[in-house]
Symmetry: C3
Subunit: 356 residues, 3 copies
């Protein structure tokens, strides 16, 4: 039977998401029932770039299932950086392990690794491309905090143009359906057109606004993200506008009593510290949910129980992916695989880049 890798959350059906969410919620309530479920199993965490919190979350998840961990978090100077190909590292480490968790700065690296691994792989972030366990964390948190995933008015605030987290969450909530979005950003940082198309196709309404204040009273959920200083047109605009996107006690007064405030963390200053003790601030609970949903995922994958739909691959070594940040630009032995979308366009199977 084929191994199931979790590279892209969209390779699972929403009913598979539901199972993961329900399992995570059960583990959260009854952790002692799961203490030995992965006894004798080893997870390798291959972090080609450091991401301390994500790595600790995965490690705690595996240990709380009774499994064990090996891995690295800083490949500089290590043999894996000494000219060894990704393929060879994966071949070897997957021979020592029962599951791999991989973080890599290059887009498509996790997909590439999955071609060679002898055990299941979880994508823990491949450059700016995908980070499926972050989105799963958001879904579990929404589900627990709001008792379900439909019927909500969801505000998303901050850098909506470049934020991978926000795009993945909108896509996931549109696949589930039955929600309404309010998009809160500067005019320069609105969501890209292809995300608007996703919302339109799904039948989910959305509104774009420029201030948090004008909409906070309508929201059931507020998903905050960071706006990097350099995203503003000028330093003056930054100084002038930043307060509009900072959540403070004043703005919270206008919010519903059962608003849920989420944030993928780390935050810089977009949520004031004074909000942390507000019952509606869910972001620290969200971080802990990340551990529970990773437990659910690891458990299903170790028991070879995660259903993944594998996209049909077209091998075309005459074409090369044009994305300069794609893993195929770096690991030259990789076969040039593409997939065809509904419109008949080719996209790179590693980085999802549409080929021109």
């Amino acid at each position: 039977m084929a191994l199931s890798h979790l590279i892209d959350l969209n390779d699972c059906t929403t009913s598979e998401w539901d199972e993961l969410i329900r399992l995570a919620a059960d583990i959260r309530m009854n952790p002692e029932d799961y203490l030995s479920r992965c006894r004798g199993k080893i997870m390798a965490t291959l972090f080609y770039e450091p991401s301390t919190r994500t790595q600790m979350s995965f490690q705690a998840a595996m240990l709380r299932l009774g499994g064990q961990i090996i891995g690295f978090d800083n490949p500089i100077n290590s043999s894996v950086a000494k000219g060894e190909s990704l393929k060879d590292t994966i071949k070897i480490v997957s021979g020592y392990s029962d599951i791999l968790v991989m973080r890599h700065p290059i887009e498509g690296a996790a997909k590439a690794a999955s071609l060679y691994s002898n055990c299941p792989i979880i994508n823990a972030g491949d450059g700016g491309h995908l980070h499926p366990t972050q989105t799963l964390t958001d879904l579990v948190t929404l589900s627990i905090e709001k008792d379900g995933l439909t019927g909500h008015t969801i505000g998303l605030c901050g850098d909506l143009r470049y934020g991978r987290t926000v795009h993945s969450l909108i896509k996931a909530m549109c696949k589930i359906g039955g929600n309404r979005f309010i998009l809160i950003s500067t005019p320069e940082l609105t969501v890209p057109q292809y995300i608007k198309d996703v919302m339109d196709r799904s039948g989910c309404e959305y509104t774009e606004v420029n201030t948090l204040e004008e909409c906070i009273g309508d929201l059931d959920v507020l998903y905050m993200t960071r706006i990097q200083r350099e995203r503003f047109a000028t330093p003056e605009e930054y100084e002038q506008q930043r307060g509009i996107y900072i959540l403070d006690r004043e703005k919270m007064k206008k919010a519903k009593k059962d608003l849920v405030v989420m944030h993928p963390l780390p935050r810089v200053d977009e949520i004031e510290n004074e909000i942390d003790n507000d019952r509606r601030a869910a972001y620290f609970r969200q971080a802990v949910n990340g551990m529970y949903v990773r437990m659910a995922l690891i458990l299903k994958m170790i028991e070879n129980n995660l259903k993944i739909e594998d996209t049909p691959k077209i091998l075309d070594n005459n074409h090369t992916c044009h994305n300069p940040r794609c893993i195929t630009q770096q690991e030259h032995y990789l076969p040039h695989y593409f997939k065809k979308d509904a419109a008949g366009n080719l996209a790179c199977i590693y980085c999802d880049d549409k080929q021109r």
Copy 2:
């Protein structure tokens, strides 16, 4: 019930120390009885500066109790160094863990962390301020090697002015009482006045001498520490005087047959290698005792069984701690808490600095 953090050894009574010492001694004799006592529990070691030996001692302690470990030892490049506040890191990691062990270069960091943690914290060193498990290690070793903690003539040799370890040990032995100190150093490196006051108040006698040779025959215990080259007035004085503070076979000939030689390690050259095989050299046994006392401490804290007296806190945001090495200088959201000593003076609750 409130969580018990071990930030400062003086937050425990001496009867609480006794319990820890007795438990450590029992674990040392019957380690197999404790193999599963922390099964299913996770300890996070948050080392904001590397301290390999301390970290390995804590890790071995937790593993020998059947628990598991996550953590970091080098936050450079990691997300915890990327502008995330100490508060946020502690909130998140304490959500993954059952106990935190924290080492930090800034004074008061452990106390600050304890305000936000969802699980007990052990201070594994906060700058030059406190390192309670080092002192506990010294007490356990003394207790085992000399069969008790009173009635001893204790020599302390080396840099008595700047050595945190020595100050903490003197304070602890004075609290226990019934001991005599011989302080062996250059005139420039004698103990500070406030330590002399502690000894005076406790009724413990002390003598200050300039050479190891003149007093070694009187000692029951000799606690050696390093004198850094740069502490001497001139390089010439260093060359001339250093031999006076080096323990060698010649000096050991004048010592009692049941002398106990201790050292917090690492040593440089203040104890000759030739002494290591002398039965009286206890410093390597001392290091192993460090593991046993950490096992005792972790066990009591995981079972929420450590009694801590919490100092009453005065909130005074009009005052700012003046210590430039205090954690409040760096983490600006921290409330400005002070405590009042017997004389009515305010001291910063994080770094213990007396406010002028």
Copy 3:
């Protein structure tokens, strides 16, 4: 009873090797029988230079036996690099652990450590000197893939002059006996004379050839290694000759159907990626065998069941080892121990350097 350290594979008899090989094979077939054999035991991995793959292999081995791991992989900045002697680090860490695995850039470091350790030590590489578990991995792989260790025609290809791995393997196969070697290299990179002497004394035939093509059809085993670009006389020779030593599909067509291709890894380009799916490519299986043989070794050593013949040591502090890469040049407290070979020559007991 004396501790058994594995510093040099030649301190064991071939019947001891046989036992390790048989145990490794049994663990490979019945891993679940060994899941708890090291429960409650701790292995410390002291990696004074990073070697990610070797360290992960040892860690996975210990975890699959139910044991636990502590250690470091990058002593820069850590206390072990802050002037602490190797002796002190070993004294302390061996007090926390049940077995030590040590990697060090200096020749003889593992032997030096074994003088002070309170628990068994495994040498995981000491500079360019010894790496016994690599050779054990090769023996296990040969034994499994070829159903025995004698009667084979073994090709060794690449840098035969400087390759420690190749020298150790030839010595081991000569001690076992009954094999034939074909040595494939440029004239500048042939095996050193002392290795030829070993083969001659053992009665194993050998032939030296310049190309892989001329001999591949005769081989039962092909052991590939890397030739570093700088080993060639000129860049022109490198470009001209490298293809002669690269294994590709064309050359594999001339090889026997049951050839076994091995490589210590990491490879650079001396084996084409297209070979990886050839059933005869054994190098990734070899890497996994490394984990099983380390399990066998750890298990025997933890159970104090490995028989080591200890060489008689001659203490001669008037002599100093002349090898500039020897650990005695760095750790000055080490006693100057030598051993006498059959011809009466003295050799340093740490680095095996023959004294002039």
